[in-house]
Amino acid sequence: MTIYAFAAALFTLGIAGMALLPNLLRKLLAMNVMQVAVIVFFVSLAFKDGATVPILGQGGAPRAAEFMNPLPHTLMLTAIVVSVSTTGLALGLLVRIRSRFRTLNEQRLLDRLR
């Protein structure tokens, strides 16, 4: 439960940061925090008391109780890639915005666009 609440707190912080921080780069970092929160949440769903990493070692036929749930890990590999990709593209956009408008402050940027 604690880890769930931790994920919730991270998520809230992240999304609040996206909305409230005045600097676009900081918004982007907050966005990353938000994405990580979801990853934490998913991965914690995979945890199983008394089980080990989902990689088959030596020995007989595997039993479900022995291993962690591999599905959330798989999903989160994908989610991490999504997060990385979004961040990469967003950085690209920020570089462009910075060189074109000479500011990363949201309000200044909007004023300049007016």
């Binding site: 439960m1 600097n23 990689i55 462009r96 500011t103 309000q107």
Partner: protein, 281 residues
């Protein structure tokens, strides 16, 4: 952060309305999430739906069905191989995007000596890189191939490979110029255009394997139908390796593309911003 220099108004902060709204909305979000979470299965509960519904098959049958000892790899590349194709497409999309946004007029070669080598320009750095890079690149390939039986796989390997490429670029400058200023360094690794080609080739290989399965009468990405000989699990294992290699190519290529394009953009973006821009809350 620091105060703005005199004569320059401080950067504006967030509008008050939004701050007030946020002060109400975000605590509500947090409370709502936590209230919902209290009803979720306990952390680590072996009897939770997540642990009992789908995962037993993945755990118990994956090795027999797909030939992968690493169940994550089995799910990633086989049961949910379509997701992984999507994942490759996502990162490829980011690469495309940065190319479009930043390297607008195509991969313009940098002027000689425009790399980041000179600021560092130390013999130690150069020597360390020479030793490290081959190891990193080799380890990347190992991580790719060994993904079947241990943590690893195409994405992880690709990122490692890509960081190897980045390391070279950081120390010796962009790969696509003649490196006339440092002839001792062997020209190795793809340039920007080459990285793009790598990324494209990865996606093409992935989709190609999927379509090949269709050509032999299976569903899209149903590797079991590929005529590679051996029992189905073995065929699937081979094909999965192909998939992982495709992801590897895409990721490695895209990581290099992202680095190159952003560094091109940074070089063009000129003077640093005034201090404190946007920092005042």
């Amino acid at each position: 952060m620091g105060t703005a220099p005199p004569g320059r108004p401080p950067a504006p902060g967030t509008p008050r309305v939004r701050r007030l709204l946020g002060a109400a909305a975000f605590p509500a979000l947090f409370v709502g999430l936590v209230v919902g979470m209290t009803q979720l299965p306990e952390f680590g509960d072996p009897a939770s739906p997540a642990s009992t519904h789908l995962s037993p098959r993945f755990i118990e049958d994956a090795a027999a069905e797909t030939g992968a000892a690493n169940m994550v790899t089995a799910v990633l590349a086989d049961y949910r191989g379509y997701d992984t194709l999507g994942e490759a497409a996502v990162i490829f999309a980011a690469g495309l995007g940065c190319l479009v946004i930043l390297a607008a007029a195509g991969a313009r070669p940098d002027p000689p000596g425009a790399g980041m080598s000179h600021p560092f320009g130390s013999v130690v750095l150069d020597a360390a890189t020479r030793i490290l890079v081959p190891v990193v690149l080799l380890f990347a390939v190992y991580v790719l191939i060994h993904g079947h039986v241990s943590p690893g796989g195409g994405f992880q390997g690709g990122v490692l490979f890509g960081s190897g490429l980045i390391m070279m670029r950081l120390v010796w400058g962009p790969a696509h110029e003649g490196r006339a200023h440092q002839p001792a360094v062997p020209a190795f690794g793809p340039g920007l255009r080459g990285s793009l080609v790598l990324a494209c080739a990865g996606i093409l290989a992935y989709v190609g394997i999927g379509l090949a399965a269709m050509a032999f009468g299976g569903e899209f990405l149903n590797y079991g139908t590929l005529p590679l000989g051996g029992d189905p699990a073995h065929v699937r294992e081979l094909a999965t390796l192909g998939i992982e290699a495709a992801v590897f190519l895409t990721v490695a290529g895209t990581v290099a593309v992202l680095f190159d394009t952003i560094s091109i953009g940074m070089r063009e973006s000129g003077a640093p911003l005034p201090p404190g821009d946007g920092d005042s809350a």
